[in-house]
């Protein structure tokens, strides 16, 4: 219980830091912290495999890529003085937040959560699902990643 509320507060704080920090590298580190906290939340929600994959893939690889690009482009000298344009956009986003929160606050969810078995969220069950029920999306996902690699290399090449 306490774990969830602590994590929730920290998560909201780091998300706010991602959006509102001036320095891009600070934003990136705040996002790493947010991803790490979300991974811990996954583990408390009986999904250890997805949690550790989140750290391995998201926090460990994608964010490193972000940091590489930030260091390559060196945007600290490029952020305009008035970096934030408040106004209409923020109002719409806040309305969206209120609407979402109102939508999900119904009391329909079962008070007693489904009692998870020993193997729920374990690598075995995730792997079984992936290789029996979802094998086609799995293969398509690997092709998608290949396409992404080739596309990124082509897009980022220097034109000679």
């Amino acid at each position: 219980m306490i774990i969830f509320y602590t994590l929730a507060v920290l998560l909201i704080l780091s998300s706010l830091m991602v959006v509102f920090q001036r320095n891009v590298v600070h934003c990136a580190m705040a996002l790493v912290a947010a991803l790490f906290l979300i991974a811990i939340l996954f583990v408390t929600l009986q999904a250890p495999m997805v949690g550790v994959l989140q750290i391995l893939v998201y926090a460990g690889a994608i964010m490193v890529l972000f940091l590489f690009v930030i260091m390559l482009l060196n945007p600290t000298s490029l952020e305009p003085r008035r970096g934030l344009s408040w106004g209409f956009g923020t109002v719409v986003a806040l309305l969206l937040a209120v609407a979402l929160a109102a939508l999900v606050s119904h009391d329909e969810a079962p008070a007693d959560p489904f009692a998870a078995t020993e193997l729920f969220g374990a690598p075995e069950s995730l792997a079984k699902s992936l290789f029996t029920d979802f094998v086609l999306p799995f293969e398509i996902a690997s092709v998608l990643l290949l396409i992404a690699i080739v596309g990124a290399v082509v897009l980022a090449k220097r034109e000679h």
Binding site: N23, V25, H26, M29, V32, P48, M49, V52, L53, I55, L56, A59, G60, A61, V64, L67, F68, M71, A122, P123
Partner: protein, 378 residues
């Protein structure tokens, strides 16, 4: 409930205590051992009342005092918060990885069975890789926050090297996972207790006679994977021959250059803790972890039929001792490697990681799969 928590806390404390002490002793072995190998005397100036202890006082007493009392320097235009955060991010994954490394079999005290492993996660080795991938941040952030071109160059090289060899390391372990059928490190260590001849079918008599008496350690079942993993692990820890990111003679200590005092000590200790981590992983995956050959739960059962029964506590002590000896051996091996081979160039490092280790690891996976199917079908 409290006793359970206390036992876990005690295990965590013991493991951290041993790792940090071993990291310190490794520093001494490195300085004195390298001196021996290079036919010089090494560090022996600092002494207490005339007792210099072969450089122990110098490395274990004088050096930490020197590091901790130096001025804490942050580069003027560097990022203050990130400069302080980077060494913590380098040290944290190296220490936290030990939570899943088993240093003994289940110890039975009275009616309580204590698993000699701090945390028995069902994702086991993936946790180790996840923490390893977090180790890149220490380099990247340290390099960026120093506001120094050499440091940035070292950091970018270091992080590129680390993420390249993470892939090779992960793929080389897949063979081990296929052979032992589990992600949990304690189960992998336990699975290395049986002899190879239990797995071979009856009709392969020649092979059974030749190697069947060996315990089914990872090194015998997956020799190529061990070589790949050893190379990738040494590259991950950025030790020589892969230490171009912090090359002392080339880019002025790379991403370390703007760090002094306590923060440099944290980077330094993090590097030695990573050596211990790599050694512990190698023993657990490939050399049986805490297994002593032919030592089962109740005593020795030699393949020629003789047995030697031992009490449970003696068996456990032997196993923990075996683990410690193996880990120290691999740490020593990495230190020996450091002072024996020259440094790789950066393009050689990248070529090795992507063009040699990766295809070999994939080949290893395919061949392992074929052999497993062949053994099961016959």
């Amino acid at each position: 409930m409290i006793v359970d928590f206390g036992i876990i806390a005690l295990k965590a404390f013991l493991v951290l205590f041993m790792v940090l002490n071993l990291a310190g002793v490794l520093g001494w072995i490195e300085r004195k051992g390298s001196a021996l190998m290079q036919d010089r005397i090494g560090a022996n100036r600092a002494s207490i009342l005339g007792f210099a202890g072969m450089g122990l006082i110098n490395t274990l007493v004088a050096d930490p005092v020197k590091f901790l009392t130096k001025e804490d320097f942050i580069p003027p235009r560097g990022d203050k918060f990130l400069h302080t955060l980077a060494p913590c991010m380098a040290l944290f994954p190296a220490l936290v990885t030990f939570a899943v490394i088993p240093f003994g079999d289940a110890l039975q005290i009275g009616e309580r069975v204590i698993n000699l492993q701090v945390a028995n996660l069902n994702i086991g080795i993936l946790y180790v890789f996840a923490m390893g991938s977090l180790g890149v941040y220490g380099i990247v952030i340290g390099a960026w926050a120093s506001n120094n071109k050499f440091s940035l160059l070292g950091g970018v090289r270091g992080s590129a090297q680390m993420i390249s060899y993470e892939v090779a390391m992960g793929l080389s372990v897949i063979g081990i996972l296929m052979v032992y059928g589990t992600l949990e490190l304690q189960e992998i260590a336990r699975g290395q207790g049986t002899l190879i001849r239990e797995f071979l079918p009856e009709s392969w008599r020649f092979l059974k006679a030749a190697i069947g008496w060996l315990p089914s350690w990872g090194i015998f079942l997956q020799p190529l994977a061990f070589l790949l993993f050893f190379t990738a692990a040494v590259a991950e820890t950025k030790r020589v021959p892969f230490d171009l990111p912090e090359g002392e003679s080339e880019i002025v200590a790379g991403y370390h250059v703007e760090y002094s005092g306590g923060k440099f000590l944290m980077f330094f200790a993090g590097e030695f803790a990573e050596i211990v981590t790599a050694a512990a992983l190698m023993t657990t995956l490939f050399f049986g972890g805490w297994q002593v050959p032919y030592l089962l739960r109740d005593g020795f059962h030699f393949p020629w039929g003789a047995t030697w029964l031992l009490p449970h506590l003696a068996v456990t002590l032997l196993q923990v001792g075996a683990f410690a000896v193996k880990v120290v051996f691999f740490c020593w091996l990495q230190i020996l490697l450091r002072w024996s081979v020259p440094r790789f160039r950066y393009d050689q490092v990248m070529r090795l990681g992507w063009k040699m280790l990766l295809p070999l690891a994939l080949l290893n996976v395919i061949v392992t799969a074929l052999v497993i199917v062949a053994v099961q079908q016959l």
